[in-house]
Symmetry: C2
């Protein structure tokens, strides 16, 4: 079942790989310098059978989040971590220094604690930090007009090797982008400009050089996030790392580590050192652990130490609920479901306990100083998101959103990259106002939403209630969709739930990309539909988002190998195959050189009559 293989080698080290998808090959597109090598997945397609016209089908290239785990030429040992993609780029900028060790109190304690030694990651690198006075955020470089290697890498990645698959892109629908402006070709300069304007972020902590750069913004492919994390009933470090690998295998663009249990510092180190995708966290969760779960005992100092601890490990973005202000808390008392965000409720409790404004809000500029010293991006949390249809779009939610807009301006004053988190539970007709208001209040900073769930009544199906909302808000302009599993509201997801959740969100994100008119999106649909029409079953499986499931579903009814080249399928059987009849129509038209346009113009005139007359016998072939 598992596509993630973790094997113990003879020397005691362990090697790991992720099974590649069928007919797929990891390729790298070379940038302007040798160390810009952008990974993609190349899917080889079979030829069109003779009776459908015997043509070659060019390969399809798809976005690849699986890192070198699917590169057979790279050996990976989880105990060593991934090789650095960005070390050289960071070093070249000459604006960071290697520290002697962690500068956070907690980081030092854990490093020196003999009790944690046996599960500590073996090769912790020394953290880097901006030299005094420097700002190492991608936004800072962008605003100075610098195109970083990260930006070039992203431009190549977003283009998806489009030039090599023009044939799959014919008949592209223009899309309706609601004010987004997606260019036909993404240039490095476009990436720079979007980051400079704050319309996109590149989450890429200087202490996470293993990361393969990616971008989150309305004018790029819609991204998805998958969550992992241990909780009270804790899972092991190996399990969490494997969950991360499982997530990127199915297509998660970023992973949030939402752990709240024991040893989350060490777990995070293992995840970061082995993750090719950005890792996000909610630092207040760990801060709360440090005060034994007593929200009122949280202090700015403990929180600040946690930010530095995590920044020096390499976390790429922090969810920070700085928008939950004292004045918003009473607005939630009349709600159906109160405050449903964990971070939001912790801060609400703190505010009430201390009769004072949230320390996240009052210390926001100091937080910015930390963020820019490591290039951690803000994910400004929606602590007051609605937890029910009833509470959607209320004063508490929108009050917080306006505050997040103010904070975005402050973050941008410091050139700190910022995205905004969003709801929650929202009925379909109230989704768009969320997007529109976010764009306006938050000055086009990228939106990153959970769902939204479009109804409350289907626990067990909330990947679907939310995918409906997610596809819509993605279409309207949301940059990243946080997945929801079918266990939402009921329990912790297992591996299959994670897989279902991620693929469901790939569906939502892709539906949004198509609707926005992303230039390369339709290639995969076209390739699939052509394979479908030509009964190339293997290609249909290989092109799909979940080849294993597609194949196993097919094989339930028609398991034989011969059925995979059959010109019909189990749904209709040979008599009823509409595809077959369609091909007869098409063959005839091609053979006779029929020009439909002309026939149309003349309104079913003699030419069409002739087409039909001469066509009489084509059906005797069947």
């Amino acid at each position: 079942m598992s596509a993630v293989r973790n094997e113990i080698a003879a020397d005691g080290g362990s090697s790991v790989r992720i099974d590649s998808y069928p007919a797929s090959e990891k390729i790298y597109v070379q940038g302007s310098r040798p160390d810009i090598r952008v990974p993609m997945r190349k899917i080889t397609l079979s030829d069109t059978p003779a009776h459908f016209g015997a043509e070659e089908n060019p390969p399809l290239y798809v976005y690849d989040t699986s890192g070198v785990y699917t590169d057979p030429n790279v050996a990976i040992n989880l105990h060593q971590g991934l090789g650095p993609v960005r070390d050289q780029w960071i070093a070249e900028r000459n604006d960071t220094e290697e520290l002697a060790g962690p500068t956070s109190k907690f980081g030092r304690e854990r490093l020196e604690d003999p009790d944690t030694a046996h599960f500590r990651f073996d090769h912790i690198h020394k953290p880097r930090r901006a030299v005094a006075g420097a700002n190492v955020s991608q936004m800072h470089y962008a605003r100075k007009g610098i195109i970083t290697p990260e930006m070039e890498y992203i431009a190549i990645r977003e283009n998806q090797n489009m030039e090599e698959m023009r044939e799959h892109l014919k008949g592209r629908h223009p899309g309706q982008a609601f004010g987004a402006s997606i260019p036909d070709v993404i240039t490095p300069e476009f990436v720079r400009d979007e980051v400079a304007r704050g319309r996109a972020i590149i989450p890429a902590n200087i202490n996470h050089p293993e990361l393969e750069p990616m971008i989150i913004g309305r004018n790029f492919l819609v991204k998805i996030n998958g969550n992992l994390g241990n909780s009270a009933v804790t899972s092991s470090i190996e399990e969490e790392v494997e969950k991360m690998l499982w997530g990127i295998r199915w297509g998660a663009d970023t992973i949030m580590d939402l752990s709240t249990g024991k040893n989350i510092h060490e777990t995070r180190e293992w995840i970061l050192r082995n993750s090719p995708v950005p890792i996000g966290t909610v630092p207040i969760y760990q801060a709360l652990e440090k005060v034994d779960g007593k929200a009122e005992e949280l202090t700015w100092e403990i929180y600040r130490d946690t930010l530095i601890e995590q920044a020096e490990q390499g976390v790429d973005y922090f969810t920070i609920h700085a928008g939950v202000r004292l004045q918003h808390v009473p607005l939630t008392a009349k709600r159906m479901t109160g405050i449903v965000s964990r971070g939001g409720s912790i801060m609400a409790k703190w505010c009430l306990a201390h009769h004072t404004e949230s320390f996240l809000y009052t210390h926001f500029e100091e937080i910015c100083e930390i963020m820019k010293a490591y290039d951690v991006s803000f994910s400004l949390g929606d602590g007051l998101r609605p937890g029910s249809i009833y509470d959607a779009n209320d004063e508490a939610q929108f009050g917080e959103l306006e505050t997040l807009g103010e904070l975005t301006k402050i973050a941008w004053k410091h050139d700190v990259q910022t995205m905004i988190e969003g709801p929650g539970h929202v009925p379909l007709h109230m989704v768009k106002i969320n997007m529109d208001k976010q764009l306006e209040d938050c000055h086009e900073a990228p939106f990153y939403t959970l769902g939204p769930l479009t109804t409350d009544i289907a626990p067990g199906y909330d990947h679907i209630t939310s995918a409906i909302g997610a596809a819509n808000i993605g279409w309207y302009g949301c940059a990243m969709l946080c997945y929801v599993t079918q266990k939402e509201h009921l329990g912790l997801p297992n591996k299959q739930d994670v897989r279902e959740g991620i693929v469901t969100y790939k569906v939502a994100a892709h539906a949004a990309d198509l609707a926005k008119g992303h230039p390369a999106a339709q290639a995969r649909d076209n390739a699939m539909s052509k394979a479908r029409f030509e009964f190339r079953w293997e290609d249909q499986f290989n092109i799909s988002l979940d080849p294993e499931k597609a194949r196993s579903f097919h094989d339930e009814t028609l398991p034989k190998e011969s059925a995979k080249i059959a010109h019909f399928c189990s749904m209709c059987g040979p008599h009823f195959c509409s595809m077959k009849i369609s091909q007869d129509v098409r063959d005839y038209a091609a053979a006779k050189g029929i020009d439909e346009e002309q026939a149309l113009k003349q309104g079913m005139d003699e030419k069409s009559q002739q087409f039909l007359k001469e066509g009489a016998d084509i059906y005797h072939k069947i």
Copy 2:
């Protein structure tokens, strides 16, 4: 696993029942006459626990498609069929006659065929037909100003006992209905008017008196259809009947019997005699079987005989692809996926083989004569629907839609009820034009769509790719959604696929109802969210669309009974429970009589300061 129980009784007869949902009871709302008894499902909710305010929660009433199978007071024997709901109503109208036997050639042959005797339904009633010159369609009565018992029944059913659950309806969002006009209370007169105008249909063949009347129209609850049917690898009659029961158990509002294999005449009889929901068919499938699958050998006479055969059995609506005209066929030659509708491809083949216009089109008025003699509704088929994103909204599709609009006018001239079928595969941003064009071209006749699927790339997940499109088009005004299972494009669905597909479509339909602002829709969401906030786990399961799945998912992580009254769940554990903190905020506000409105106006003034000061100690309770 099965919730459908078919048991052999001591006398050799078999009894059948469908397991009721937990905490649910079948109730009947009485209409203006004793034989108008409208079924609903009453869900009993538990009281709010003391620390959340100790209040009674009134029962929730939900739409019930399961017929008397969930009524413990009714004994059902599949060999006898259901008791008639509508016999008296039909008889009273005094415009029909009981025939001596089937008037179709095929119907007579099968009845007299000794080889079919052993699997023939035991108690075939004699068919009824309108007396010469009469029109027995609900539209005909409606246009004469007559409110039939069916219309009153439907009005009661659509109101969902709203008066008894006002408490669940507070805070209702107004909705955005795109020109639909849904009244706060559905009256029988409103039903009549909508049917008279052609904006809604009541599929209710006079030969299907077992049917519990329902309505399909934009100003009513969005309905869903589930499909069943044997194909080449045939399933048994029992299996097909059980599939129907399984479908209505999960919430299918109508069932289409798409059988194409052996003995479909007899299978259909069994299904109809035991079905409380309307049954739709595609008569061309059976007609094609009668000519051994050779489309070019189809004739109007064979088709006509099939219509009468099925109308006299009691089929409530016919999919008829009369919009596939000769002139449309060449338009499909340049498509990516040609013609994907089975009916559409059969008719295209016939048109080409005979160099002539479709007999369905040329004989359309004669078809109307048959429809009105039994009150069979048209479901005008979209034989040229797009089978890929590439083909969406093309000339072939829209050309056919315009023809369907012309045919609607002809049907209405005969007072024949008519709905229109729709796509298919359509990217999200091109869905609305489908709805808008259908409303305009087809004069507001109800739209009945398959999906649409918003991407081609996710076989194995097409219930989801299509639910996204379905929720949207339902919101925009589509009256009925034809479900798609996860096996779409891959194989035949099994029972679990059917269940997943139906519940997924219940989600889509409900999301649409909420978005349109249907007056009773939000009651269930509110009841669920209140139960969620108050940790009433049993109620959460019972209110959900799939109580069994919700419970089993919950129990995977926290199986103990005690966990079902716990004030936290496995996702966050006791420390992190945002719901708990929210309740603390709310309790405090209530205890102090805090008026948030006022506090708001004064912008976090002294009153709020006081609230917060006094609240300091509430957190020590935890």
